[in-house]
């Protein structure tokens, strides 16, 4: 039995608080740990509008909603890599296929969808009433002729894509027994305003909106483990200092504004500390700042550059970039053993390490003699480095919270965009974040 957490947002709601997700004990239909997963052929019917007359503006909104619902769902399903999206049959089925009383399956013309090659069918309808948008979506097993999943979502018309992302998460959970990433978000830097500002978008780059608007240079956004706060470097007061913004309350505070650079802040996994690079002693050194006690501890001590920390998920180790041996390589500091180990030996320039959520791997960016940067992944002890990209300049990898995807920046001749791919370099998808150049993505944790 599966339960859902109930968030009592409504004053007279029943305050029933139940354990967060109980994973169903039944069989998992798609085993993601299998070496190769056969994709399910799925058909996505056009969303239908239910409900009546409206003026011209409403008609335009309706058409936008209609196409965006399908677009968002198609994008999610394609990116999940669990599905192959098949073309819809040339003839639409009879209307009235949606019959709530009978569970929705009664009117489906099964042979039509089978002939289109679909094993799975998704049908949806929506209704717009003022600002309110109601979306019903159902997933059918076309072979067995039955409904598998049906949900009704109610939200603002502006949150239409988000409604579908919730459904995609449900589908993913239903088929794999694991949490989907479709409701996660992305932070990145864009120059669309002429300045470098931090923006926040859905995981697919859509719905991008400004997080900073100070007209200076804002860099290196990073999520707190709670998914509510953002660390970033900004020149808004003249010098590169580290700030923390609470996305819910808008409260912004200075984390560190010491002399020199205060950059590259990363939260420790427990959220209690921030690792950052400071140059108070002339050479950029890594430090650990306890946010509660405001105590600062220096982690590196050399004449080299030490930047871009990334914590292991258990918080016991921290990988970072240093040129202590001449050119930039990745090292790992073990807090408990108090030891330092070099992880990379090849390449001319190794940078932006990102520890995977399961702790087993580190993604990073490397350039060889040709000067072009690619995303690589190695085991967390440095073994078996493998290259995942092969074109453009690819930097700043960031793992999805389920560890199955990597976001990164890719640039070519000054034009930079964000991409996401799977952990073997497949299922590459460019994110439509809007105008301008986008760089340094930071993928959110699961946002519950």
């Amino acid at each position: 039995m599966r339960m859902r957490k109930i968030i009592p947002l409504i004053p007279f709601a029943l305050l029933m608080w139940l354990p967060a997700e109980v994973i169903p004990a039944e069989k998992v239909y798609i085993d993601l740990s299998a070496p190769s997963v056969r994709r399910l052929p799925v058909a996505i019917d056009d969303f239908r509008e239910s409900g009546g007359g409206k003026d011209k503006a409403q008609t335009e909104l309706s058409q936008t909603v209609k196409s965006e619902l399908k677009d968002a769902l198609s994008g999610d399903l394609a990116f999940s890599n669990l599905f192959t999206i098949v073309e819809n049959p040339p003839y639409p089925e009879r209307p009235a296929a949606f019959d709530k009383e009978s569970g929705g399956a009664a009117g489906v013309e099964w042979p039509l969808w089978r002939s289109a090659g679909a094993d799975v069918l998704i049908k949806g309808s929506y209704r717009i009433e003022g600002e309110k948008l109601t979306v019903e979506v159902r997933m059918f097993d076309v072979v067995r002729e039955k409904e598998i999943l049906g949900k009704r979502y109610v939200g603002g018309a502006a949150s239409r894509r988000r409604l579908v992302h919730y459904f995609a998460d449900e589908i993913y959970m239903e088929l794999t027994g694991r949490k989907g990433i479709f409701t996660t978000k992305m932070l990145f830097v864009t120059d669309r305003t002429g300045n470098k500002e931090i923006y926040l978008s859905d995981y697919d780059g859509k719905n991008a909106r400004a997080v900073t608007r100070n007209g200076s240079i804002n860099l290196s956004p990073q999520w707190a483990p709670d998914g509510k706060r953002v660390l970033y470097t900004s020149y808004k007061k003249g010098t590169p200092a580290l700030y923390m913004l609470d996305l819910e309350t808008g409260k912004d505070e200075t984390v560190s504004a010491r002399k020199g650079i205060n950059i590259g802040g990363r939260f420790s996994p427990d959220g209690g500390s921030v690792a950052l690079t400071l140059s108070t002693n002339k050479s950029p050194e890594l430090h650990l700042l306890d946010l509660g006690k405001r105590e600062l501890k220096r982690l590196t001590d050399n004449y080299a550059i030490d930047v871009s920390p990334t914590f292991s998920p258990d918080g016991k180790r921290m990988a970072f970039v240093s040129d202590m041996n001449g050119n930039p390589h990745i090292f790992v500091l073990d807090f408990y053993a108090n030891s330092l180990k070099r992880l990379t030996f090849d390449g001319r320039y190794n940078s932006s390490p990102a520890w995977s959520p399961d702790g087993k791997k580190i993604a990073f960016s490397r350039s060889g003699e040709d000067g072009r940067f690619d995303i690589w992944v190695m085991e967390s002890n440095g073994a078996n480095p493998a290259r995942l990209t092969s074109e453009g300049n690819n930097r700043n990898p960031s793992w999805s919270p389920d560890g199955r995807h990597i976001a990164f920046s890719s640039s070519s001749r000054g034009s930079s965009s964000l991409y996401i791919m799977d952990t073997e370099g497949g299922v590459l998808r460019k994110l439509e974040t809007g105008p301008g150049n986008s760089k340094t993505p930071s993928w959110s944790p699961f946002l519950d």
Partner: protein, 194 residues
Amino acid sequence: MKKMTITRLLPAFLLCITLISCKSGPVVIEDTSAGAGAAAEVVVPEDKTAPAETITSEDITTETASVREGEGAKAASPASASIMEGLKAVHFDFDKYTIRDEDKEVLRQNAEWLKSRPESKVLIEGHADERGETEYNLALGEKRAESVKSYLETLGVRAETLSTISYGEEKPADQGHDEAAWARNRRAEFKSAK
């Protein structure tokens, strides 16, 4: 693939919550699966990161935020900094922060100019080219600016008159994307520090 891959009926057992019409707040989810029994709604949390007015509150926070640590360098803001005539920029090799031999003479002339104007306060800006990585380049720009500052100090310029700032790869002098542009962008420049 076996013939049937997804046959599990949704085990939907739902918990009830009163539904109200919501404008732009929480997303309400109702399970409508066959066999789900009586319809019931589940409320998922409001997307608190979404409202633009919440997350773009930079204006409020700029006033309330206080710099708690240290003072920060009193650098001129990017807009107000002006290049000091008489002080020539120096350039660096890729991923290096050592002063080139040919630039040592430039810095010697800069030092003489500064020593003849002891009241001058100078901000040394360190920059990197677009290759490499944002944070590493910020550190590299800092190292370059500090190298120049140290060199000028050895030539007798008073340390108190010199300050540094790094812009990493963020403020290129040349917008090009070739070796010539990169060479121009790997630099330390001198600005007037008020």
